[in-house]
Amino acid sequence: MSSHELKTGPLEYRTQQGQMNILGFWIFLGAEIVLFSTLFATYAVLFGRTADAPLPGELFEPGSVLIMTFLLLTSSFTCGIAIHEMRRGSKKGLITWMIITLALGLGFIGLEIEEFIHYAHEGATLQSSAYWSGFFILAGTHGLHVTVGIGWAILLLIQIAKRGLTPVTSRKFFIISLYWHFLDVVWIFLFTSIYLIGMVV
């Protein structure tokens, strides 16, 4: 609970509380890795258990999946730029790049929902087989994380508009940037192990 404040360095690291919140979030991300890996493990073990539902290779379309991947990769990049702007002391830059990030995220979510609806029409739903349960819950959990991230970032944008760049607001933005990049990391593995492998095997 020390209130000593450093005079230099990025704003988000200047108070001990700021450092601790960021550290706590890193630890939380460690837990998130395990959370997703459990879903990956379930998916992997249930691979092939499609029962009467269509096979993944029949439904996956490389085109839309690649677009989704590029949307998310780009949003991760723009989110990085937003933090770069924040560290340069530019509130406007931060807000602008963050809004771009969210727009890309929304695009990703839109495509994912469309994809899920398409699969459901083809007869692959949460209920249709163990494999598809694994697929929808794994991809869905990631999608839910992205959605939560968008809502969270909107709250933070309101706060920064009101309060400007302070150790507290910049800490909050730094943390959500960690979250956003992390979702990109998860997506890379999702893209690789669900879609690419699903289309190969």
């Binding site: 609970m1 020390s2 706590g24 837990a31 959370l35 379930t42």
Partner: protein, 644 residues
């Protein structure tokens, strides 16, 4: 849903339970209203973020849960001693062993230890609170509402009845329809979230908030055990979260993870459950090791032997704990190779554990042992735990495990490690730190009587179970063949001995509250670590001035140098967090959402979920930065506390 489906009907024992719940609730409401204590309760306890108060609430809840789980145990023992009496029917017996296991592990052992961590760890490292005090309160309320949700099941909706392991497909929607199993899933889910938050909280606290000068390898051993435990929690609990979520989705939304239809794989549940479950065992045993180390070192009046080896063995145990989960289902038929791998990794855990046992023994070498009650619990742990440990190695030998598995041999083993390890540690820790928490010691004479009843009762109860297990008695049966009767009767006698020991312990709390001498100094036992450097009762800011630490056993060094935690020259204003009602409200809403999901009332679940999201938003916009305690107030408080 009809009202008679909502309430459990037809069991006299459960009617009695309902009546007592109503009476106790009415009594509490009456007392609070009559003495006009509602405001006090809200300000001092329900909204508190003080780690000491949160710890005390954890411990009190855990004691209540110990009572509940203990009653379950006694009922089971009565049934097994007199199966002909038809005391419990099969269904009722199944519900009771399910709730006994779940309550004892999730709602007793873990909260009890987390409670002790809460009270002690910040004091041991010279911190003024944990890293995230409001999150800490949130953890507690999530545990409490989870526990309430789980415990209410026996009067509303029906208890879960698929065992604390809840193996699918038995626990799935097809074979266990109704809210019972949902209570298990949601109760554990809700409290599990809090446990994960606690893990993160304590990791950050210990890493970032140690007193100046205190290096990692100078931390008190209980703090080390907490750090290692927090690490295990962070990496193990997400697995449980996912497993529970998947089964919930299976049951409520019809997915096919662990079902017999849609090519589901029921055994995957067992796999995920034990991937969490085995680390969980170490979550409840490592803090116990830490407590024993503190207690033994204090009452042996001697430095802990092999401090570094103790720390490294804990780290090693933590690592290995993630690599042995398959030994819980060697008999699933994964083949000789898989079983060999996990058999060897399981037995390897005996190595660091053995090192710890020998280090404790060596701590006693050339010491001056004082047989206080706390130390009796700690000393009794060593031989008792060794019996549990060696039989654990026997269970780890997969080929032999085919005969031990699912038998009372296994039941005896895990009670030997969990009671002699965790429960003894809870008692040792509570007795040891009791004066720090409540300002007076527990009566030693009553404490000793309760200790001997509990210890002898424990061995009488569980030692025969090894043999009845080798005679082929499986666990979880409510009816037995005549050959197993004599040993079961002996077991039951022992169980009542333990019950009596616990009752005396509880009476001792009341007796000591009335008659024990109040503590005058903060150093009740001539302690070695920083928690004893604070005055008793501990001021809410813990340390007026934080000492500089150069060694473990920091307080020994301070006493040698004549230092205290109140250096008038150096007092500065102290920044403290404000109380907040958000955690209890947030978790109350989460409790309502969970309750809705238990009964699959979607309107209620969705409304609760929206409320939860709104509360998170409120939290995000809350910029309350706490307050400062001024120098004058600190000086006044400290002078009064120290009688200066």
């Amino acid at each position: 849903m009809q009202l008679d489906e909502f309430f459990v009907t037809g069991e006299p024992l459960i009617y009695a339970g309902m009546v007592s719940i109503v009476l106790v609730t009415a009594a509490i409401i009456f007392v609070l209203t009559y003495f006009k204590r509602w405001g006090w309760l809200w300000r001092e306890w329900l909204t508190t973020v003080d780690h000491k108060k949160i710890g005390i609430m954890y411990i009190l809840s855990a004691l209540a849960m110990l009572f509940r789980g203990g009653m379950d145990a006694l009922m089971m023992r009565v049934q097994l001693a007199f199966p002909g009496m038809d005391f419990l029917g099969s269904q009722h017996y199944n519900e009771i062993f399910t709730t006994h296991g779940t309550v004892m592990i999730i709602f007793m052992a873990m909260p009890f230890l987390i409670g002790l961590m809460n009270v002690i760890v910040p004091l041991q490292i010279g911190a003024r609170d944990v890293a995230f005090p409001a999150l800490n309160a949130l953890s507690f309320w999530s545990f409490l509402f989870g526990a309430l949700l789980f415990n209410i099941s026996f009067v509303i909706g029906g208890s879960p009845d698929a065992g604390w392991t809840s193996y699918t497909p038995l626990a799935g929607a097809a074979m266990s329809p109704g809210p019972g199993q949902n209570f298990y899933l949601m109760g554990l889910q809700l409290s599990g979230i809090g446990t994960l938050a606690t893990g993160i909280n304590f990791m950050v606290t210990i890493i970032k908030m140690r007193a100046p000068g205190m290096k990692m390898f100078q931390m008190p051993i209980f703090t080390w055990s907490t750090l290692v435990t927090a690490f295990i929690i962070v990496f193990a609990f997400p697995i449980l979260t996912v497993a529970l979520a998947l089964m919930t989705i299976d049951r409520v939304f019809g997915s096919q993870f662990f079902t017999l239809t849609g090519e589901g794989l029921p055994m995957m549940w067992a796999n995920l459950f034990w991937m969490w479950g085995h680390p969980e065992v170490y979550i409840v045993i490592l803090p116990a090791f830490g407590i024993f180390s503190e207690v033994i070192a204090t009452f042996a009046r001697k430095q802990l032997f092999g401090y570094k080896a103790m720390v490294w063995s804990m780290i090693l145990i933590a690592g290995l704990s993630f690599l042995v989960w398959v030994h819980h289902f060697f008999t699933m038929g994964a083949g000789a190779f898989v079983n060999s791998v996990f058999s060897v990794s399981t037995m390897l855990i005996a190595v660091p554990t053995g090192v710890k046992i020998f280090n404790w023994l060596a701590t006693l070498y050339k010491s001056k042992i004082q047989f206080t009650v706390a130390n009796l619990w700690a000393l009794a742990f060593i031989p008792s735990f060794v019996i549990g440990g060696v039989t654990g190695v026997m269970l780890g030998m997969a080929a032999a495990d085919y005969q031990f598995h699912n038998s009372y041999f296994l039941v005896a083993h895990f009670h030997y490690v969990l009671i002699a390890g965790t429960v003894f540690a809870c008692f040792a820790g509570l007795v040891y730190w009791y004066p720090k928490m409540f300002g007076h010691k527990l009566n030693e004479r009553l404490g000793k009587i309760s200790f001997w009843f509990f210890l002898i009762g424990f061995h009488v109860c569980f030692f025969p179970q090894y043999f009845v297990g080798l005679d082929g008695m499986p666990r979880r049966v409510f009816s037995i063949i005549p050959e197993w009767m004599p040993l079961n009767v002996i077991s039951t006698v022992g169980a009542f001995g333990m019950g009596l020991g616990f009752a005396i312990f509880v009476y001792n709390i009341y007796y000591s509250y009335r008659y024990s001498e109040r503590e005058k100094t903060g150093d009740s036992w001539d302690g070695r670590t920083l928690e004893w450097a604070t005055p008793t009762p501990v001021p809410f800011y813990n340390f007026a001035t934080v000492p500089h630490v150069n060694s473990h056993d920091a307080f020994i060094e301070m006493k040698e140098k004549g230092e205290t935690t109140f250096d008038e020259e150096k007092v500065e204003p102290i920044h403290m967090p404000s109380n907040t009602g958000q955690p209890i409200i947030m978790m109350g809403i989460a409790g309502i959402a969970s309750f809705g999901l238990v009964f699959e009332w979607m309107w209620m679940a969705i409304a609760g979920l929206i409320g939860l999201v709104v509360m998170m938003g409120v939290r995000s916009f809350d910029y309350d930065d706490g307050f400062h305690v001024e120098v004058d107030e600190i000086k006044r408080t400290e002078r009064k506390a120290r009688g200066l």
